[in-house]
């Protein structure tokens, strides 16, 4: 077996995965659906860049084609960027190949004759370590690995005519209205949880956020059960992952599904009335107390700081 194949519909992720794959010393092949992307990816560590020329704009529709290609090439690893399209493509490809798959690898290390991966389970409270020693599909989320340009190595571009799956067709696409929120990029995040009594009380979070220059996030319950904030505001599994320098929560109990989304924050501060709330185990600084008393005091103190 030889050869690592890489695909992502996200350019930055493609570049990062190529740089990761190049650490293996194996031959690395980037798969793209787009000649322009291949041209831009030549200096990120790939030996080869293969442009699939097919009749569908949907990457997901190339799963069977890619599975056949990986089989023919006797590939040892298929690295896929974990975007919505990438995840579906990856899981279908693994299905067609009847091979193993590691979803959203938190780490991936090439060792002699094997690859060691870790991933988180149970909402981030358990880490599972797996050893790969046969063809496996691995998806990798954004931000885990960095792209490194290697000007001295230039990949060779070739193309291949293929037939995509024609059974799913795009009718229309419309950009998602972000409603001013970009939580993933926020440097500070104020997060509200179910400990808040009524929607008007979001004002106290907004006051704090304004003083800090923070974005407002929330738990899933606030967005999906109470509908107090748009779904783009919720943090955690199936919601946003944040990595601010400061995350500060009020009335957030800290269930694992939420905590998984804040893990990469530099400093986590929490205010909650329940001293046994799991959020305090995930926090650097905790205040046990009534958020309606604490938060306005904090806002005032920060304003004067």
């Amino acid at each position: 077996m030889s050869g690592i194949y890489v695909y992502s519909d996200n350019f930055g992720l493609s570049a990062a995965l190529l740089s990761l794959a190049a650490q293996s010393g194996e031959e690395v092949c980037a798969i793209t659906l787009d000649q322009d992307q291949a041209d831009e990816l030549v200096n990120y560590g790939a030996d080869r860049l293969l442009v699939l020329k097919g009749d569908s704009p949907r990457p997901e529709s190339y799963a069977k084609v890619i599975a056949e290609l990986l089989k023919k090439e006797n590939a040892e690893l298929f690295l896929v960027g974990s975007t919505a399209r990438g995840r579906e493509l990856a899981a279908k490809t693994a299905g067609y190949l009847d091979c193993g798959m590691v979803s959203d690898a938190a780490s991936l290390v090439f060792e002699v004759g094997k690859i060691v991966t870790t991933r988180l389970m149970y909402g981030g409270s358990v880490v599972q370590t797996e050893i790969i020693n046969s063809l496996t599909v691995v998806t990798v989320p954004v931000g885990k690995f960095e792209a490194a340009k290697n000007e001295s190595k230039k990949g060779v571009i070739s193309s291949l005519e293929v037939k995509a799956d024609q059974r799913v067709n795009i009718i229309e696409t419309s950009p998602i209205k972000k409603e001013g929120i970009d939580l993933a990029a926020a440097d500070k995040v104020v997060c509200i949880g179910m400990g808040l009594d009524k929607p008007e009380d979001i004002q106290i979070a907004q006051d704090l956020a304004q003083v800090l220059g923070a974005e407002i996030g929330c738990t899933r319950g606030i967005a999906e059960e109470r509908h107090w904030l748009p779904v783009q505001s919720y943090i955690g599994i199936s919601g946003a992952n944040v990595k601010p320098s400061l995350y500060i929560s009020m009335g957030v109990s800290g269930q694992v599904q939420h905590v998984v989304g804040i893990r990469d924050s530099r400093i986590i501060a929490a205010v909650d009335s329940n001293d046994k709330a799991p959020i305090f185990k995930a926090a650097d600084y905790g205040i046990v107390g009534d958020l309606y008393e604490i938060i306005p005091l904090l806002t005032e103190a920060l304003r004067n700081a």
Partner: protein, 258 residues
């Protein structure tokens, strides 16, 4: 009337997970539950079947422990519950689960729509829906926030990173739903009582032409332990709220945050 099949997984409730002193994970005291997001898939199946006049059924692959899930699943509205009973489910990876579910779907026959959640609340690997589609060689549409069946096609809205995409796919198809697709109601007493009278069917691996060796894990499991977040865990202990706030501000300054 064709079948609209909602797949679900009976998982250990993560709230009952215990971490031992040596960082090993104890799931032995964890209660089971239908994976949270699978409730959305079941509700979606029930709702769409109402409109199309088809029959919503549920399908699960689980050990003997999953038997108790059937009544819970059926109390949510489907007409019949299918259960592949095998101890191998406890260790099944995405490949094994999708292989077994796909084989069962073939055995059940006459299906037009298969609904899965994006991922299970224990592993959240998001492999099984597309894996089933590949093994049945039928189309798959993931990240669905809404869908509509018209004749032989399904129109699905998908939430991607930067856009909403509407696609049309030929039936039969696997649709993987996001939690925002609906709000599954809590079953009422009558629904719970009725569920006990609904038919259930138990399948075995051998009924599906599969054996445990077909389901062997594809990767070698090396570790399964608690993930430790290195945090300071300082509870600010000032006498008054104002003191605590003062301490927090001082710490944030020390950390260079403000």
């Amino acid at each position: 009337m064709a079948k609209i099949i909602a797949c679900y997984k009976w998982v250990a409730d993560e709230a009952d997970l215990r971490i031992n002193a040596d960082m090993s994970v104890d799931l032995s005291k964890a209660k089971g539950k239908i994976s949270d997001y699978d409730k959305n898939a079941i509700e979606a199946a029930v709702q769409v079947a109402k409109g199309t006049g088809d029959t919503a059924v549920t399908l699960t692959f689980g050990s003997g422990k999953a038997k108790q899930s059937l009544k819970d699943a059926l109390s949510r509205g489907p007409a019949e519950g299918f259960w592949i009973n095998s101890g191998s489910a406890e260790k099944a990876d995405g490949a094994a689960s999708s292989k077994v579910l796909a084989a069962a779907i073939k055995e059940m026959g006459d299906y037009k729509l298969i609904l899965c959640a994006e991922g299970a609340s224990d592993t959240f690997a998001r492999q099984v829906g597309p894996g089933i589609a590949a093994r049945l060689d039928i189309p798959c549409v993931s990240s669905a926030t809404g869908f509509e069946v018209n004749g032989n096609t399904v129109t699905v809205s998908r939430k991607l990173e930067d856009c909403v995409e509407v696609v049309a796919a030929d039936l039969p198809v696997v649709v993987c739903v996001l939690p925002e697709i609906n709000q599954p109601p809590i079953p009422g007493l009558k629904a719970v009582l009725d569920a006990g009278k609904k038919p259930t069917r138990e399948l075995r691996l051998e009924d599906l032409g599969l054996s445990e060796t077909d389901l062997a894990a594809k990767t070698e499991l090396q570790g399964f332990e608690a993930y430790v977040m290195n945090r300071k865990n300082v509870i600010l202990s000032g006498d008054s709220a104002a003191d605590k706030v003062k301490e927090l501000v001082a710490n944030l300054k020390k950390e260079g945050i403000i």
